[in-house]
Point group: C2
């Protein structure tokens, strides 16, 4: 597995800044080892690199004050939401201050007529939807984990229903952020579209905390559909499943979710959830619309699936049946882990044009086999995005090396097939080398922007771009 770099530490600056901030924040600045480790990266294979202190901010002004102190002393700032990111985004390779915004968790305004909501960055997506429950509105982006909305924006997250509702890129209308110099910036606005100047909102979305710390978000909302239906269909192979996906998208069926599980994943959820799905590639779908609309969508997909060689097509509008099916999908990660008890999971995240998806998935499966890795596959296939979950023993250096091979293979494969090294997890520490392979001509411009906005490289250093010169 790729070695994660430690960067030079500014010991004096860190000590001074912590001293100043301790005076100001008292118990809301913590330096205990366990809280520091908990705020560094723990959800993947990437080594834990704790910050020197964790600060619990409660307002934009507090964040601005913290960043100004950090800027004065050239101390790294690492934004922290829920710590559910997957590529080492919350690690502190040069030490510094983890700024935890989980206490900035207020929904500030709901505008039902405009289908938008203004939230603080520590609001999680589930908390938001809980808050919205009686309004008939919802926020659709669902990356699986109950991530903070600030973190989801920072990593340009998406998930199972991006095929219908887009990603964070498409659903953030406006941002407030604290820049590396401590200034507070507001970008975008509540109008549904704008041609007023550079799109700084989209620049901050996906910048992984390297250009600023998001302190407020205005997000699009959607009316809860009148009806939802689910469907499933088994295919003899990945290629025929992908063909069904392509036709479905091409015909304009506004599918809300369309997920692929490969044979290993189906086997995993059968065992985990006590199901008896045929052990062959499976598509799970969800449709949103009117009663008549979701019936029509399901029927159209049924015909397409049949033509593509699918079998066992079933659909339902029953909430109970839907929940059971999708719960199995949502538990797939845990189900996969059970395929090899005690193993650790290493997720990949490539995304390719859907015409290349069958080839990408098949070659990924072949490569895993060749390397002796068990790596079941889940895919948000409407977008061409899929995750392999390599199950390895972390302490087994051979397996780590093979896993490393596998991840590099997948990144190269995605680039070869006109795709991207990351559909939704981001670059973080794990994919900096692959990013340079995907965007060789664009790196100089990305670095120029980083230097222009953060010349001292204090905002989440060692992520996306390293070095920045």
């Amino acid at each position: 597995m790729a070695q994660i770099a430690h960067l030079p530490r500014n010991e004096t600056g860190i000590e001074t800044a912590i001293g100043i901030l301790k005076q100001r924040f008292g118990e809301r600045l913590q330096t205990g080892q366990s809280i520091r480790e908990q705020h560094a990266h723990t959800t993947t294979w990437i080594e834990n690199q704790p910050p020197d202190a964790v600060l619990f901010a409660q307002s934009t002004e507090e964040v601005a004050d913290i960043v100004r102190v950090a800027a004065d002393h050239r101390v790294p700032i690492i934004p922290f939401g829920t710590g559910t990111s997957l590529e080492g985004h919350v690690n502190a390779p040069a030490g510094g201050l983890s700024v935890d915004v989980s206490q900035m968790n207020q929904v500030l305004a709901v505008h039902p007529e405009d289908l938008d909501v203004v939230v603080q960055p520590g609001v999680t997506r589930k908390a938001l939807n809980e808050y919205l429950r009686d309004t008939g509105l919802f926020f659709p982006i669902d990356p699986g984990a109950d991530a903070s909305l600030g973190g989801m924006a920072a990593t340009r997250a998406s998930g199972t229903n991006a095929v219908r509702y887009g990603t964070m890129k498409d659903n953030v209308l406006a941002l407030e952020a604290v820049l590396p110099n401590g200034e507070i910036i507001r970008t975008g606005g509540r109008a549904k579209k704008s041609s007023a100047g550079y799109d700084l909102t989209r620049l901050l979305v996906g910048s992984e905390g390297t250009l600023g710390l998001i302190t407020e978000l205005t997000l699009k909302l959607y009316g809860v559909p009148e009806a939802m239906s689910s469907a499933r269909c088994t295919f003899p192979d990945v290629t025929s499943a992908c063909n069904a996906v392509i036709l479905t998208i091409q015909m304009g069926v506004p599918v809300a979710r369309i997920e692929l599980l490969d044979t290993d994943s189906v086997r995993a959820i059968n065992a985990y959830a006590g199901l008896d799905l045929p052990e062959s590639p499976l598509l799970l779908l969800e449709f949103h619309g009117s009663e008549a609309g979701v019936a029509e969508q399901a029927a159209t997909f049924g015909e397409i699936a049949d033509d593509a060689g699918g079998t066992g097509f079933e659909w339902t509008t029953s909430a109970e049946a839907r929940t059971k099916l999708w719960q199995a999908r949502h538990d797939a990660y845990f189900a996969q882990l059970r395929l090899r008890p005690g193993a650790d999971a290493v997720a990949s995240d490539v995304c390719v044009p859907i015409s290349n998806l069958a080839e990408a998935v098949t070659r990924a499966q072949d490569k895993a086999k060749e390397l002796g890795l068990l790596a079941p596959i889940l895919g948000h296939v409407g977008d061409g995005n899929f995750h392999t979950t390599a199950l390895i023993e972390k302490d087994n250096m051979d397996e780590r090396a093979q896993c490393d091979n596998f991840l590099n293979f997948l990144s190269d494969l995605a680039i070869e097939l006109d795709g991207t090294i990351s559909g939704e997890h981001g670059v973080g520490q794990g994919k900096m080398v692959s990013l340079e392979k995907e965007h060789p001509s664009a790196m100089a411009t990305m670095k120029a922007i980083k230097r222009a906005i953060d010349p001292d490289n204090i905002m989440n250093p060692g992520k996306i771009l390293s070095p920045i010169e």
Copy 2:
């Protein structure tokens, strides 16, 4: 009307660069007065500021060569597509070279399975749809004019069906551009989503040629809907029409177009097209989907309109009837001009949250009346975007002053109502002051990015940001 600044000219550099480029490009470099004026701004009230030469580029490499010569001699480059932009984008306030990409008009690749297309920047939207005619696919963005796709991306254009299909921001997957130093950059990719680094695609979209010259675009396509239906409904006032729009959007009716015409606009198209629509605010709609779907959508809207006080609701799937109705809408600009023969039209472009739309339109109407201006209104009301078309005599200084008042009033109104000074036309030369009012905290960052990418300010100087320090 706002005076448009002339910027200092680099006479020596311009002369030298033209000499070098004339050697290289021969007849494809033109310096005649008429072609230079034609390549400066002619479609609005903004004064014509011709470039010193017009160059017809035929490839990305040629553009890069031109930009390198311009960079060596610090000479402005003004990208030119079809010249249909509305805010002085193609003017040359410091002189320099207009780079006309209309001969870069090839469709390079269509990927029907992935619903994308790769085009050169001089392909117009109508030419693209003509090219796609037999594929069952189309490109939906429709700003009215048959603009070049490069220009549409550069101004973040949209139009009547953005409510369903989004704007250029949402439909550009990847770009190739020549940077101000002559380097060729590729951003984005053909995968439907990506979290791989800063979103340079979205930074270039809407940058109005100030950060680079777009030389290739990868765009999303859509399947031609199985069925389309059109509807119209008259309302007693703008508020009740807006209420119908809000409910329609809130209920998730996936309306493809929803346009408001105020009473003056209805009167204009009645006279122009020989129609007898009731002279009262009108909503025109279009629905895309299956046969059953468009019928259901139209019926749902009919119920909403009825509740909101609408009358004379009619809908049809007849292509002939649809065309007649929408032709009248598309001709509205010319119809408006006939309201005051010989007058010039000055378009505004504000966009507000739809809950504020009725107030915005009503206050705009009242202000026009107060100022003695005839200014009929058309609105892409699903997005909260509307255009007033002030009909004035250009040579009448009093009317010009009143029109200036009116435009400033509208920009201030949009900002007061949580909206934007430009929904789709861009900033150009006409709205630089208003941009600073809308985004006071963001200007420094926009300028920092401009300086980082174009330190000598050679790419379309005097647009969006002026000065850049």
